[in-house]
Every structure is written in structure tokens, then in C-alpha cells.
């Protein structure tokens, strides 16, 4: 049913368990590049029909059917409080597995798998308030080539109470 993009490639990668360390799946959302440790990534699939669920947070786009398994998908752009954009044929869903919770991340464009050495990761600097919420899910910055990649902590990314707490903070600060 679901067309699987780069699946073979992924499987090869997943087979080499040892070589996972230091490897990151990077993708582009807006102007920024993000990275997720490959160990969380299950597979990457093309965009597919999403069944919307009423009355949930706007970044939860709904449910998809992954070979009989029903998993929720979230839109990373909306999650980061960016303006939602149209889905194109480059839009992908990265299926991640965080502590046995399967979740799909809708991203605008998959970039590549990067190897990032531990020592080239620096903690995010304390920036202004505008970056406040990003810092919640970004645990490190890495420079590869000419781009800076924001490394995401998927556990924080998907945790709902986290964002509620953040929103609470923001409301208070306003």
C-alpha cells in the first residue's frame, strides 16, 4: 500500500547496528536542517492519506495505516510553531520508534544520513526568548560542511506535557 522510499537503503543502515553510532538522519524544515539519531528511525515513507482526528492539538495531523499498524503522525513544522506549508511530492514521513511508541514525523524534505562525531556537537547557546521553545527539543548543534544542523531529542519532541509546559511558560511571559 504505502510506497516506501529509500527503504532498502534504510534497511542496510539498520543492519549495521554498530555503525549507527554517530549517524543522523537529517532533514530540512523551513530554512533549518535538523538531525535525529538514526537509532530512533524505523523507516521513511512517502506522504500518504492521513485520517484526521478531531479535537487534538493542531500538530497532530492524524493517523496513518502502516501495513496494518495504525500510527499517529505529527507535522514537525507545526510542532515548531512555524506556518504550515503545503505538502509536496518531496514531503516525507519519518517513522520513529521512541520507547516503543511509533510516531510519524512529517518533514518537508529528507536531506541525507550524516556522520557526526561526538566532539563536534556543541550544546545550543542560550539565545533569546524566540529560540526558547526550540531549545526544548534541540540538544546539540553540529556543523557539517557549511550547514549547522540542529540535533533533536525525539523523546522531547513527541512528549505532549513538554509542549504544554512550554506554552504555559510562553503565556506567562507574554
Amino acid at each position: 500500500m504505502a510506497e516506501e522510499v529509500k527503504n532498502e537503503e534504510m534497511e542496510e543502515l539498520l543492519e549495521e547496528e554498530d555503525s549507527q553510532k554517530g549517524k543522523f538522519m537529517t532533514f530540512q524544515t523551513g530554512k533549518e536542517f535538523f538531525g535525529i539519531s538514526i537509532s530512533y528511525v524505523n523507516e521513511i515513507i512517502a506522504m500518504q492519506p492521513i485520517a484526521a482526528i478531531p479535537e487534538v492539538d493542531d500538530y497532530i495531523k492524524g493517523l496513518i495505516n502502516l501495513r496494518g499498524k495504525i500510527i499517529p503522525v505529527i507535522d514537525v513544522r507545526v510542532r515548531f510553531k512555524m506556518e504550515p506549508s503545503e505538502y509536496t511530492d518531496r514531503t516525507c514521513i519519518i517513522v520513529i520508534d521512541v520507547n516503543s511508541t511509533m510516531i510519524g514525523l512529517i518533514v518537508e524534505k529528507i536531506a541525507e544520513v550524516d556522520t557526526i562525531a561526538d566532539d563536534s556537537i556543541v550544546p545550543p547557546p542560550s539565545l533569546g526568548r524566540k529560540e526558547h521553545e526550540h531549545n526544548k527539543y534541540v540538544y546539540g548543534l553540529a556543523r557539517t560542511g557549511d550547514a549547522v544542523k540542529l540535533l533533536l531529542d525525539p523523546e522531547k519532541l513527541i512528549r505532549q506535557d513538554e509542549i504544554e509546559a512550554v506554552m504555559e511558560d510562553i503565556r506567562k511571559e507574554d
Binding site: P54, N65, I70
Partner: protein
């Protein structure tokens, strides 16, 4: 590990459960060894582990284990009740590990068939000394000393059989010389000689004394015996008179082989012993799943014949034990099959005009029939009525009410409600707690307290089960004292279980929920039957572990109602797929009363924005699903859409949808827990074309509607 036991004997269960608990215990200890102290949930957990092992070792009379765990339970009791500061954490960790090691050592002895004879004195003395210091500390810190931890002596005991492991099992075949006279009498003498040492003896032919013709059979086919004994091979051989024997075959068997041989010999009671609890037997007759009084009636013995059970027990060959995981996998696969079937039968390729489909239709009809039957079979394999569970509850009400000298009648409703086997296992203990609580704390101590309130002198407890909207509701209702909110609040405050808030800041339900906090027990005096607060928290924990919840309703002086609401984890329902906007929804067929088309003039608009529909003079609440769930591109004119009248527990509601798609069997899947619960939705499913439809929960819709109005 459990799979290794093919007979889940009492001892095996004890070893298995205690082993699991100790593993858990060590997990906690090792995780927290470097911390400053144990937190409340650790203390509760350790207390519970000790409490459980103490209890079961008491029943099996392993006194050294009981004493040691008893002492450690005491220690954690004081920690839990008094929360003293400055507990020497490292020392405590060492103490817990020492106990854990001791018990593990004793369990190992039992596993090897040895007597658990470890000397517990030193350990008990150490713990006593530690406890003494702990109490001193509590006094010094000026914390109120809790009442002494009360221990219940076990009232029932299990005497483990003398180690059956050093028994030997033999298959003995004697072939007599063909000219042997009265070989049947010779054969009988052999059995007679063996009876002296036999723990179990079975032989064939089995009618050697009463039937003279058996002598010929013995000469032709030989005389075969199965023997279980402590004696060695040599000792046994010495007992058999071999004078006329041409050949004696002597095989030593393992226990398993012996069990099989018993079945071959046609002894049917071999089966019941072989059905392990862990590998759940799935018989067609589900009631047989659990032994019942009357299962073991022996048919009157025919002279000289072996015992046979009167009740026709299934032969061993007709039953296989199946791992529950495999059952679950099968269940999932059948769910997938149902979906795949829909994909094939509703395939858009079939909609090409002019296709000759009559053979296809015939074949697909057959396919549908088979898949439907398949589902029914798998469901029936897993479903069991609550009868047995409710039976236990009757017993508890009976026992506890007599013990406490309360006059209580029990009404049971819906005991034939069938629920998934897994669920039965998980609800029995929680339900038992609720029932005990109702008898003990719910119903008033004195009949006069009741009569002055105008209630009948006799208390009443109602136990009710029903299956609705993919959920099982089991409620325990009493007409007793009810819960006193003030008292609950005060107690929770005193125990430091809640934040420092005013009572008015809590809703009634929140206050009732205090009783489910660990360490909360409303009774000043702890009673034997309801324990000391190791109760409601466990109930909630167990129920949550299967995705259910506990609902508490209470009115002071009128009574309380505790309801367990448990989802059916995986079920297949008959549903109608409807469309609203671009989204498909599923409505369970059973809850649909009718579909109607109504005119705009049947609508009543309240000033508040609420709407009602008048049908044949009756007025129903009206929900526009598209507005409720904010769905775009949908029909908003009632005259173009379809109104579905839904019924649930006697209340009706009308829902506006765009169109009907089809009726089909629906595999209910839970909405992934990551997505917060949406009221009015009970699950989701996959349709024939692979898309996902949400399943409407009528009860939820009604509640939500009620709240809004």
C-alpha cells in the same frame, strides 16, 4: 521461564511468582542504591513484594522465608507510614539485598528438590535491631508512631507432597511362557507385590481378576505395568516373581514420558494434571477451563478395573496447550484477514462496468462465510463468562459479612457477560478488593444506623456486569454509608498525599479518588479483610495495566458505586461506515435505531444554539458531527444529509451525517495512546481501501452532549 513448567503445580507457581517478585525487587534496589533514599513508590513496591512472598510462603509453610520477609515488611511498613528522615540508606539497601539473597537461596533449594533449611535467626536479629533503631529515630523526630504492623497468620495451608522428584518411573512388561497356567493370577501377584512400594501403579489388561479370559490376552500380548516408586530398579526386580516369565522388559521413564504413558494406558485423569496454567488450554467448552467441583467424580469402580472419571474428560490427544501470545498473534492475523477480505471484495477493479462476476460472487460469498466463522471461533476461544469470578465474590460477601456480623444481601446482575480471558485474570483481584471494601467499609456496622436513616436493616450489595460500546463495565454498588468528603480530604492532608489546597478546590470525583492513593486507608482501625491500605492503589494499578479505569460515585449516607471500566482490547464488531465531510466514521450497528431524512421544520433551535429534532412527536438532542468535529466540505443542510438515530442505555441522540457507505465487519483497534483521548471516539479501524475510519462511541457522545447542555 514459565514455559518450562508443563505442570503448573502449586510449588512451581510459588517459585515462579516469588522469583519474578525478587527480580523486580533487585531491579529497584540496584537502581536506587546510589540514591539518598527510596521514594514513596519504591517503598510501596518493596512492601508489597515482601507482603506477597510472606503470604504465599506462609501458606506453603516455609517458615524461615516467612519470618525474614515478615521482618522486612515491618521495616518498610514503618518507612511508609512515618516517613522518617535520615534513614541510613546504604544499610537499608544491604538489608534488603541480604533478605533477597536469603530467599533466592531458599528458592533454589526448593527448585533442586531440597528442603529450604537455611537458618534465618541471624538475619531476623539484624532486621530487628535495625527496626529498633528506626523506631527510635521516628520517636526522636517526633513523628507519630503508627500502630503496629498487623500480621495475619495464614488460615489455609498447602502441604507440598514429599519430594516427588526422587520417584522413579518404570514401564514393566512381562511376557510369560506360552504354557503358563493362570497367567492372570500370576500377573496379579506381581501387582500385589509391587503395591508395597508403589506410589502409583497401573496395568493392562486391567481386569485380570474378574475376567479369566484376560489370561489369554496376557499370554498373547504380555502384561504391562506402569509404576511410580521410590525404590530402585534392583529392588523392584527383586519383588517380581519371575519364575514363569520368559522375558521381563524394564524401562525407566522420565516424568514426562510417564505422563504420556498414563494417557496411552487410558487413564484419563492424567490430563487434568497436565494442563498448565501458563500455557492456557483453550478448550471448546470454555467452562472447563477452570476445574469445578464435580470434575473429579470417579465412576463406581468395576471390580478389578482401574479408576475412570465419570465426567467425560477430554482425552489428552484432543487438547493441545497454546501459548497465549500465539493466540494473540492469531487473533491479529484474523483481524488482518478480515481487512484483506474487504480489500479484495470491495476492490475498485470490480466496479468496471460489464464484468461477469457471478462466479466471483459465489466464491467470495464462501470466503466471507469462512472468515466470519473463523472470527467466531477465535473469539469464543478467548471469551469466558464472568460466572466464576462472580461466584468467588458471592463467597467473599458471605464470608466477610458473617465474620463482621453484618446482614447483607448480594444481588448479581449479568454474570453471563463474556469477557476476554486475559481480562478475567486481571480483574479478579481488583474486584475482590472492591467487594471486600463494600462489605467492610461500605455497609454500616449496625443495623440501627441504617434503620434510623430509613434504610432497610439488611444491607445490599449489587454486583453488575455489562458489555457496552466495546467496553466492559463491572460495578460494585452498596447502599451503605457512602464516602464522607470532609474525612477523605482531612485524611489525605494528614498523610501528606495531596497538595496544600482547600477542599473546595477539588471536585467530588477528585476527592473520591484520594482513596486510591498508596498508603491511604480510611479506617482508623485496620481490619483483617480490607488490609491496611495495600488495596485501592493496587486495584487502580491492575486496572490501568489493562487500559481500564476505576470510576467512583458516592453519596454520603446513601451508598457508593465503584465501577471498573475495561476496554475490550481487540474485538470485531458489526458496523456501518458513514461519511462526514472527507472523513469516514464507523457506527456500531447495534446502537443504530434508524436512519431518517427530516425536513428543516423538524428542527428546534434553542436560543443557546442547541438543536433538537422532533420525530413522531418525540424530541431528541441533535448533534451535527461536522460542527462537533470541525470537518470541512460537509453537508450542513439537514434535508440533504441523513439523520441517524442512536440509542444507548435508553437515551437517544440524533446525529447528522453526509452519506452511508457500507455495512461491514469492523476490527476495532485502539487509537494510539499517544493521541489524547477524544470524547465520543472509542477506536479506529482500517477500511477496505486501506484508509482509516474513526469509531464513534455513542456513550461518549451522549455524555459529552449532556455536559454541554
Amino acid at each position: 521461564m514459565a514455559e518450562e513448567f508443563n505442570t503448573e503445580s502449586m510449588l512451581d507457581m510459588f517459585l515462579y511468582e516469588s522469583g519474578q517478585l525478587l527480580e523486580k525487587l533487585e531491579g529497584i534496589i540496584l537502581e536506587k542504591q546510589d540514591a539518598d533514599c527510596f521514594d514513596d513508590s519504591d517503598i510501596n513496591e518493596i512492601f508489597r513484594v515482601m507482603h506477597t512472598i510472606k503470604g504465599s510462603s506462609g501458606v506453603l509453610m516455609y517458615e524461615n522465608i516467612t519470618k525474614v520477609t515478615h521482618k522486612l515488611e515491618d521495616v518498610f511498613y514503618y518507612l511508609r507510614e512515618s516517613h522518617p528522615d535520615d534513614v541510613p540508606h546504604m544499610e537499608l539497601v544491604e538489608k534488603v539485598l541480604a533478605v533477597s539473597d536469603f530467599v533466592t537461596g531458599e528458592l533454589d533449594k526448593l527448585k533442586n528438590g531440597d528442603t529450604p533449611d537455611g537458618d534465618e535467626h541471624q538475619l531476623v536479629q539484624d532486621l530487628d535491631e535495625f527496626l529498633g533503631r528506626l523506631k527510635g529515630e521516628i520517636k526522636k523526630q517526633g513523628i507519630q508512631m503508627p500502630q503496629a504492623n498487623k500480621h495475619e497468620e495464614p488460615k489455609q495451608f498447602y502441604i507440598t507432597p514429599v519430594a516427588g522428584d526422587d520417584s522413579h518411573f518404570y514401564r514393566i512388561s512381562i511376557h510369560y511362557r506360552s504354557d503358563t497356567q493362570m497367567s492372570n493370577i500370576r500377573a496379579y501377584s506381581a501387582t500385589y507385590a509391587l503395591k508395597e512400594v508403589a506410589e502409583d501403579l497401573l496395568y493392562t489388561p486391567d481386569d485380570i481378576l474378574s475376567n479369566e479370559a484376560s489370561g489369554d490376552v496376557i499370554l498373547a500380548e504380555g502384561f504391562h505395568m506402569l509404576l511410580q516408586t521410590k525404590s530402585s530398579k534392583e529392588e523392584v526386580i527383586a519383588l517380581i516373581d519371575s519364575s514363569e516369565a520368559e522375558e521381563i522388559n524394564f524401562d525407566e521413564l522420565t516424568k514426562g514420558e510417564y505422563g504420556k504413558a498414563l494417557a496411552e494406558f487410558g487413564r484419563e485423569d492424567a490430563i487434568t494434571i497436565d494442563l498448565g496454567e501458563e500455557q492456557k488450554p483453550e478448550e471448546k467448552d470454555k467452562k472447563k477451563d477452570k476445574p469445578q467441583p464435580g470434575d473429579y467424580v470417579v465412576k463406581t469402580k468395576e471390580a478389578g478395573k482401574g479408576k475412570t472419571l465419570a465426567k467425560n474428560q477430554p482425552k489428552q490427544q484432543s487438547i493441545i496447550s497454546v501459548n497465549v501470545e500465539k493466540m494473540d498473534a492469531l487473533m491479529d492475523l484474523i483481524g488482518e484477514l478480515v481487512i484483506a477480505e474487504a480489500v479484495v471484495l470491495q476492490n475498485p477493479d470490480l466496479k468496471v462496468p460489464g464484468l461477469e462476476l457471478s462466479n466471483f460472487q459465489k466464491a467470495s460469498g464462501q470466503l466471507s462465510k469462512i472468515t466470519t466463522e473463523l472470527q467466531e471461533v477465535i473469539m469464543s476461544m478467548r471469551m469466558m463468562p464472568l460466572t466464576n469470578v462472580f461466584q468467588k465474590m458471592k463467597r467473599i460477601v458471605f464470608d466477610v459479612s458473617r465474620k463482621l456480623d453484618k446482614d447483607i444481601e448480594l444481588e448479581v446482575i449479568g454474570e453471563n457477560t463474556e469477557v476476554d480471558k486475559n481480562i478475567i485474570e486481571h480483574i479478579t483481584d481488583p474486584l475482590m478488593h472492591l467487594v471486600r471494601n463494600s462489605v467492610d467499609h461500605g455497609i454500616e456496622e449496625n443495623a440501627e444506623d441504617r434503620t434510623t436513616l430509613g434504610k432497610p436493616a439488611k444491607g445490599k450489595i449489587t454486583l453488575e456486569a455489562k458489555n457496552e460500546g466495546g467496553k466492559v463495565y463491572i460495578s460494585v454498588k452498596d447502599d451503605g454509608k457512602g464516602l464522607n468528603k470532609e474525612k477523605l480530604y482531612q485524611k489525605a492532608m494528614d498523610k501528606g498525599l495531596i497538595d496544600n489546597k482547600l477542599i473546595s478546590e477539588f471536585t467530588d470525583k477528585e476527592i473520591f479518588r484520594f482513596i486510591t492513593l498508596p498508603g491511604f486507608s480510611t479506617k482508623e482501625e485496620v481490619t483483617e479483610y480490607s488490609g491496611r491500605g495495600v488495596g485501592m492503589d493496587v486495584v487502580v494499578k491492575n486496572i490501568q495495566s489493562i487500559g481500564g479505569r476505576l470510576d467512583i460515585e458516592s453519596v454520603e449516607f446513601e451508598g457508593s458505586e465503584m465501577t471498573l471500566i475495561i476496554p475490550l482490547t481487540l474485538a470485531i464488531i458489526n458496523g456501518i461506515v458513514v461519511q462526514v465531510g472527507n472523513s469516514p466514521f464507523v457506527i456500531e450497528t447495534a446502537s443504530i435505531k434508524e436512519f431518517v431524512r427530516v425536513g428543516e421544520d423538524s428542527l428546534i433551535h434553542e436560543p443557546s444554539g442547541e438543536e433538537y429534532i422532533v420525530l413522531r412527536g418525540e424530541c431528541y438532542p441533535f448533534i451535527r458531527l461536522n460542527e462537533r468535529y470541525d470537518l470541512a466540505d460537509s453537508i450542513s443542510n439537514v434535508e440533504e444529509g441523513i439523520v441517524v438515530v442512536l440509542e444507548h442505555e435508553g437515551s437517544q441522540v440524533c446525529v447528522l451525517i453526509d452519506k452511508l457507505l457500507q455495512e461491514q465487519e469492523i476490527v476495532v483497534k485502539p487509537i494510539p495512546p499517544y493521541v489524547k483521548k477524544v470524547k465520543g471516539l472509542s477506536g479506529c479501524t482500517q477500511l477496505g481501501d486501506g484508509s482509516i475510519a474513526l469509531i464513534l462511541d455513542i456513550a461518549g457522545l451522549l455524555i459529552q452532549d449532556g455536559e454541554r447542555r
